[in-house]
């Protein structure tokens, strides 16, 4: 592990002051690789916080371009980003905040082999996508590669958050929680409203969990958190493994 420069000690001093992180935790973040799937409402705060926090290698993937309707809540973009690829636009902002991290842009929709390859070369994956099929594809790739997954979702006034790490024998996967058979999408976000800071709340929670995972701070697994912005309430549900899960039941127990 490389020594932190004086500039780095200063930049990350508020992390280093936390005994749970300390210099070793910050060095772990600087040496870590995170994949952010989606650079929209959730991906914006995730990308900005992981970059500012000094996660050393960040990959951000999105095939979409920034439109005016996005700017109400997708805070990594601005007026100058209109028409630009979302991953590219977010990367520019990330590097403006912290040029000391490396940001790789994937301007296409990750699927199939490219998704499997990208997931396998990262230490954590943040699912900031906007549909049920992608959520299941990302989960399958994470289980196959043994890479932890921080899953966030938000629409209207409702958010959901869960961390899956199938390297841990007791951890369920996304499929254990929501089987993919059946109709589940909230519908296109063009027809449903989204409260602007709702994606900030859930995306920020995703960034918190990812930083904990990467810094070696214990993370609660087997739990789904539900946020209701109208009620101002959080609830959490215990999620056990599904012993018949077609995605994760065949995993080898233990690590790797």
């Amino acid at each position: 592990m490389t020594e932190l420069s004086d500039q780095a000690l200063l930049r990350y001093s508020r992390h280093i002051l936390l005994p749970e992180l300390d210099i070793a935790g910050q060095q772990a973040l600087l040496g870590a690789r995170a994949l952010i799937v989606g650079a929209g409402g959730l991906g914006s705060p995730v990308a900005l916080y992981l970059a500012s926090a000094g996660v050393g290698q960040l990959t951000i993937a999105d095939d979409d371009v920034v439109e005016l309707t996005n700017l109400q809540r997708q805070i990594a973009h601005d007026k100058a980003s209109l028409g630009r690829n979302k991953a590219e636009s977010a990367a520019a902002r990330m590097l403006a905040m912290n040029p000391e991290v490396a940001v790789r842009v994937i301007g296409e929709r990750l699927a199939g082999q490219s998704l499997a390859d990208e997931v396998a070369r990262h230490d954590v994956v943040l699912d900031c996508s906007d549909n049920f099929a992608t959520r299941h594809a990302v989960n399958r790739a994470c289980v196959a590669a043994g890479v932890p997954l921080v899953s966030g979702a938000a629409v209207r006034f409702d958010g959901q958050l869960a961390v899956f790490d199938t390297r841990q024998p007791a951890s369920p996967c996304y499929h254990c929680l929501f089987p993919e058979e059946g109709e589940a999408n909230d519908g296109p976000c063009a027809t449903f409203g989204v409260l602007a800071p709702l994606v900030g709340v859930i995306g920020s929670l995703q960034a918190v969990e990812a930083i904990k995972l990467l810094a070696g701070i214990p993370v609660a697994l087997g739990r789904l958190t539900l946020y209701d912005a109208l009620e101002s309430s959080f609830r959490s549900m215990k999620v056990p493994r599904d012993p018949a899960c077609p995605v994760c039941s065949g995993r080898s127990s233990g690590s790797e």
């Binding site: 906007d130 938000a154 909230d186 215990k238």
Partner: protein, 83 residues
């Protein structure tokens, strides 16, 4: 027996309520769902077999076979998928 039902996300809007106290003889989660579907309309639609939603019994994920007891909290929630 009395059950405390909670509805989340889309279901809250579809059912026009976020909770209710129900007097029911349903012995299992499956029987309770059948009772709710029998209300017809949005209840039959949203809780139909092909729809994805989960039930948590006293804050722990349950299956249709899970047994119910008086005073149980039964939370029904769909996946949120947007981002």
């Amino acid at each position: 027996m009395k059950l405390n039902l909670l509805y989340f996300a889309r279901l809250k809007d579809a059912f026009g309520r976020d909770h209710e106290t129900l007097e029911s003889d349903a012995a299992s989660v499956g029987a309770l769902l059948a009772e709710l579907r029998a209300r017809g309309g949005a209840w039959a639609d949203e809780l139909a077999e092909g729809r994805v939603f989960r039930v948590a019994l006293n804050q722990e994920l349950a299956t249709v076979d899970s047994g119910l007891a008086a005073g149980d909290e039964v939370a029904i929630f769909p996946p949120v998928t947007g981002g």
